[in-house]
Subunit: 345 residues, 2 copies
DNA sequence: GAATGTAATGCAACCGGTTGCAAGTCAAGC
DNA sequence: GCTTGACTTGCAACCGGTTGCATTACATTC
């Protein structure tokens, strides 16, 4: 009794028409009906017209699942992110969707909440019904990722694993520019407000800060904001001010924005007595004051990743690909000359 | 040659094991292997153990697509929103995902970009491979929605169609409270910065503003911000100031935030010489000054919608459901007493 | 007019699972 | 010892499409 026409929400008493019904009514075979939809050029125009007309009248729509089973192609891809609600992701998701749409693909979205176990669960659930996956900022360990990559085409965003196609938003140049910018403004002692330890982006940024600061003779302290959010950024303000630095560069814009709020609460004026730099440029000019930040065109990452996935799916892929997206510094109003002398109480 | 083991990214030369392989190796029938995974309680523990062990060794994973074909249940639902990048949606999406996850479902996400044609395309693509859909702020016309609802369980968010299960974020009380708040602060002439004409929420809010303003003898003008965004909000500032009102309530927080920026650019101090109220409370305290807004717990809408969808899918649904979510005013720092006298130049 | 080629359509196997029903096994009950 | 029933497993049909190959019809060529 698995196809009770009066339950399960499928039509009010009328069964969903299948290819066989259309075949019977139109007088052609199932094969012909199938071809009328998937390879009409094999048939007479007349036949196609007739079949489609009957199909329309019956309300027939080819069953995607059945098609997927016999062809092995389902036209689905999966995109897994760590946190939909982090403003870094929505533009990326949007771009990825758009690209997938153009190729006629549907996208599954998964939200791992930065939890590897959850991410693994999601991948497991998705992998059977997609043709390929994109993992953004994956927290899975390398072995797992490699295993999945043998089962399906797979593209990583902001995770650098040799042999796996990946799209990396290379913020190092932008971060270096930010440090240079601060140095030129006279800052000698700065803070890096760091993000998740397991994040490739965080390692990337932390190293870039260290390297460039060393080069220019700046002192850097690290202050954590974990998980990276408005709130943890705000909370970091006290510690940062207490440390006596005159500027901070944050793991991302959200943390920077929180930091701005935290500083405001402490009556520290930005940029007059303290400078703040963000990362990702996802908030635009909406902060107060408008944030100087490392702009990274994160939306592009989604677009490129799906593009690479597509070409990998169609088999037109030879070697491994390591696609880098560039970054640059956008100077707005949250950075200014170092205060002449910090009043240490 | 549709299953060429060396192409398509499926394993390095080794085919994906099917139920038949496991059957052959384990010595049991395909039926038994199937049951070992889907109804283990029908089998001896011993048998289950053995089958699973062989499956593990071979790397067998049940094929979701095949399962969906024979059972009619694919364990997928679709969620279509108008704009992932609008901060209203991410929390909603996240909540919906979470709820779906708990039920073991995968979610397809679609982005309609406020375009009915696009939305229709997406629904068409999804509907064949999901057990149910959630349409948030749908822009489809009623007839289409009704048609889809006969094919699959369907839940609407912020769209009020009789006979279709829907979740409505009722911002009217909050908006009324906002108008009352402004009236008490002495404002007599205010602006409503309106959103999409076809949006149920917009109609709801506009009416609530009118009603309450009339009741309190306030004058209201309408200024459009379309599509609703930071930029259109910013641009509306000039017109609003020119109109001589002393306060504005915006369609959503994003528009309100843009308005704040536009006002700042015009050197209008908020809340000293102008008051601004937002809607949705999706930005928290991150604006400058922190925004007085109508809080609506939009994340709940996602959770509730998927919950309703689930019960509808399991057939335990009798009549129609119209679930209302309440709203209230959150007073922060963007509203203040009306300026004693507006200097009209 | 027979041989050859080409285009349209049908046959039947297949994709990888699920499941109603029947068959077989074994212990308990009479 | 035979019947009964519970429990475990297998058989085979089925889900709704796709596709390699065979068949048929018809036009072309010699």
């Amino acid at each position: 009794m698995k196809r009770d026409p009066d339950s399960g929400g499928e039509g009010r008493g009328s069964v969903v028409p299948t290819i066989s019904q259309v075949a019977k009514v139109s007088g052609f075979s199932r094969a012909t009906v199938s071809r009328a939809f998937s390879r009409p050029e094999m048939l007479t125009e007349e036949t196609v017209r007739h079949v489609k007309e009957v199909a329309d009248r019956l309300g027939y729509v080819p069953n995607q699942v059945a098609r997927a089973l016999s062809t092995g192609r389902h036209g689905n891809v999966a995109l897994i992110v760590t946190d939909v609600a982090n403003p870094f992701f929505p533009p990326l998701i949007r771009a990825a969707q758009l690209r997938a749409d153009q190729a006629g693909l549907c996208v599954f979205l998964g939200n791992s909440d930065e939890d590897p176990a959850r991410e693994e669960l999601l991948v497991g659930r998705f992998i059977g019904q997609v043709e390929g996956l994109v993992l953004a900022s994956s927290r899975l360990d390398e072995a797992h990722i490699r295993r999945y990559a043998t089962r399906r085409p797979l593209v990583l965003i902001n995770r650098d694993i040799e042999g796996i196609t990946r799209v990396l938003i290379d913020t190092a140049p932008g971060v270096a520019a930010a440090i240079a910018h601060l140095a030129e403004l006279g800052h000698r002692h700065i803070a890096y407000v760091s993000g998740p330890t397991t994040s490739w982006s965080n390692q990337q940024r932390r190293n870039a800060v260290r390297r460039e600061a060393e080069k220019r003779g700046l002192k850097v302290i690290a202050v954590p904001a974990r998980p990276p959010s408005y709130d943890t950024g705000r909370l970091a303000a006290v510690q940062i001010i207490a440390s006596g630095v005159t500027a901070a560069i944050a793991f991302d814009d959200l943390v920077a924005q929180g930091l701005l709020a935290g500083l405001a609460a402490l009556d520290v004026e930005v940029p007059k007595s303290f400078s703040v730099v963000g990362c990702d440029d996802v908030l635009g000019e909406t902060t107060y004051p408008p944030l100087t930040t490392v702009s990274a065109r994160c939306a592009d990452a989604g677009d490129v990743a799906v593009g690479l996935l597509l070409s990998q799916m169609s088999g037109g892929m030879s070697g491994e690909i390591r696609h880098k997206l560039n970054s640059h510094l956008v100077i707005r109003a949250s950075t200014g000359p170092a205060p002449v002398k910090r009043r240490s109480r």
